[in-house]
Amino acid sequence: MSKPKTVIEKIWEKHVVHQEEDKPDLIYIDQHLVHEVTSPQAFEGLRLNNRKVRRPDLTFATMDHNVPTKNRDVVKDEISRKQMETLRKNCEDFGIKLADMFHPDQGIVHVIGPQLGLTQPGKTIVCGDSHTSTHGAFGALAFGIGTSEVEHVLATQTLMQEKPKTLNVHVKGDLGPGVTAKDLILAIIAKFGVKFGTGYVMEYTGEAIRNLSMEGRMTVCNMSIEGGARAGLISPDEKTVEYLRGREYVPKGEAFDKKAEEWLALATDEDAVYDKTVVINAEEVEPQVSWGTNPSMCVPISGTTPSLESVKEHKEDVKRALEYMGLEENQPITSIEIDHVFIGSCTNSRLRDLQNAAEIIKGKKVKDGIKAIVVPGSFTVKLEAEKLGIDKIFIDAGFEWRDSGCSMCLGMNDDIVPAGGRCASTSNRNFEGRQGNGARTHLVSPEMAAAAAVEGHFVDVRKFKSGVLS
């Protein structure tokens, strides 16, 4: 029998085009996703060098970062408009399929890839965007690249890459009731830090991971980059196959069943060896809230902000984070009052995320003075939610119901948290200024964000559901 292998090694080996000693491998890219912010300079490079796009058929573009989420046709910012027009022109000139602002397939690039079935097990997938790791939920090797690499893929359909080391993130046991995929990934990053995955591709394993829905798996893989890893993935299983069946870009009929067999065979072999393994116990994970300015600065809802005395390393950074966030040391998380709620982003804007939040908010009201918005991850998600009446639940509670896009995750359009504002956000980054200059971001699950919207401060969503808050 051949040596047992991880899914990561299996995919890698299938994609090596060329190998030379002391050089990175040249690997083939099966799917290239493109958006408007990180691609213009790449196309410019092609033009300057008189190069073509090698495989327009393996390339798919959308607009997501800049798009307005209300009044779609009014792009106030001249430069935003120019950036989107540039993408349209580039796609036309180079023959690339584009889901533009008004296209029914439009959405956040990491939401539409899986939705359309462009994302498939065993594929190598890249995009000029660090959250490309999301697609790893399907057992694809998916990672973010810079603009020079975007140009490289456009021109050659390959990338020069060092073979990654493998990291097993093993989740023991199962999550408790009311604890979500978002809480799990935040707890993982809080425990192991923002760079434990640097140089590795992560594979998430264990019972809790197998039990997650595909949406939950996407939430987990999405934030692999926040743990330092360029890619995070999960071995494909029946759930993966069922999610993809019938989607637009997957094979149909018998051809699909044949493909599915190939996909299932990619799963990590028993006894495969990883370069490193870390373990976390799912049973101990509580709903999480970030208090600081990087995603590892995160504690359970029952916790407090740190005391400076107890901080051993980089005390200055912790001090600066507390200052920026306008928080005291030892402050209970439940005492933190918010004025903005954002449900959206490639981490948590899929139908199931919205359903979960809607269940919390149903029949309740957003507390006075709080601006709360829901931004579905794609047009399709929006329409499906509307069919189920989920939009009404949010609107009745006092949320704004928007069109799809990145929106307040990074505030490149008009959706910005003002300086000093404090936002319960289902996105993935709480960096200084991320949601607006001087804005303060607390990362939470959709359920926790919804409960905070009602109460005006963070609460344990498990207690909220039972109606007993203290």
């Binding site: 299938k14 085009v17 083939y28 912010v37 810079g146 603009t147 960096f431 200024g433």
Partner: protein, 195 residues
């Protein structure tokens, strides 16, 4: 990409860990469609207040660091977003060398493709240099061929860098041109896999 073999420059100490690319170049400046002109926006929210006035308390704004080209930083420099605007901004501002205990993966690749020399160095050494550089007028000379950094007193420290990266920087190679030399192999791969 310009070839670079050695560089001597004024050191700027940025004593922060996990400096993310949102800090290096905030999102409001990502809308340009060129590669140039980002330098003026580097570390924008640290250098300027809400009204666009220079913050006097941020050291990079002080005259003793004018013309700096060697950046010293804490661990995990360049984490977060994959935006290549970050290395573009750093380079455009004048930084040719960045020395830190560790770099985020995507940033490392991006910077290298733009000819910035990235050097991983032990934290204790960096802390020492940070102190020396605190008040300005501290210079380091980087010799890529010898893999050596020297201060003005002639103290030399060795650094490691993957040989392939070193070659690329010294020769100013363009990855795409290199890859296209293997075009027949790409074609063969596509035929064999029916990709």
């Amino acid at each position: 990409m310009e070839a670079i073999k050695e560089h001597k420059g004024l050191v700027f100490p940025l004593n922060r860990t996990n400096v993310d690319t949102d800090q290096i170049i905030p999102k409001q400046f990502l809308k340009r469609i060129e590669r140039t002109g980002f330098g003026q926006f580097v570390f924008y929210n640290w250098r300027f207040d809400d009204n666009g006035n220079k913050r006097e308390d941020f050291a990079l704004n002080k005259s003793q660091f004018a013309g700096t080209s060697v950046l010293l930083a804490g661990e995990n420099f360049g984490c977060g977003s994959s935006r290549e605007h970050a290395p573009w901004a750093l380079l455009d501002f004048g930084f040719k060398v960045i020395i830190a205990p560790s770099f985020a993966d995507i940033f490392y690749n991006n910077a290298l493709k733009n000819g910035i020399i990235l050097i991983k160095m032990e934290e204790s050494q960096i802390t020492e240099w940070m102190k020396e550089a605190e008040n300005g007028a501290f210079y380091l000379s980087i010799d890529l061929e010898k893999q050596e950094i020297q201060d003005d007193e002639g103290n030399a420290v060795h650094f490691d860098i993957p040989s392939y990266h070193k070659e690329k920087l010294i020769n100013g190679w363009d990855d795409i041109a290199l890859t296209l030399l293997n075009e027949d192999k790409i074609k063969a791969y596509e035929e064999a896999t029916q990709a």
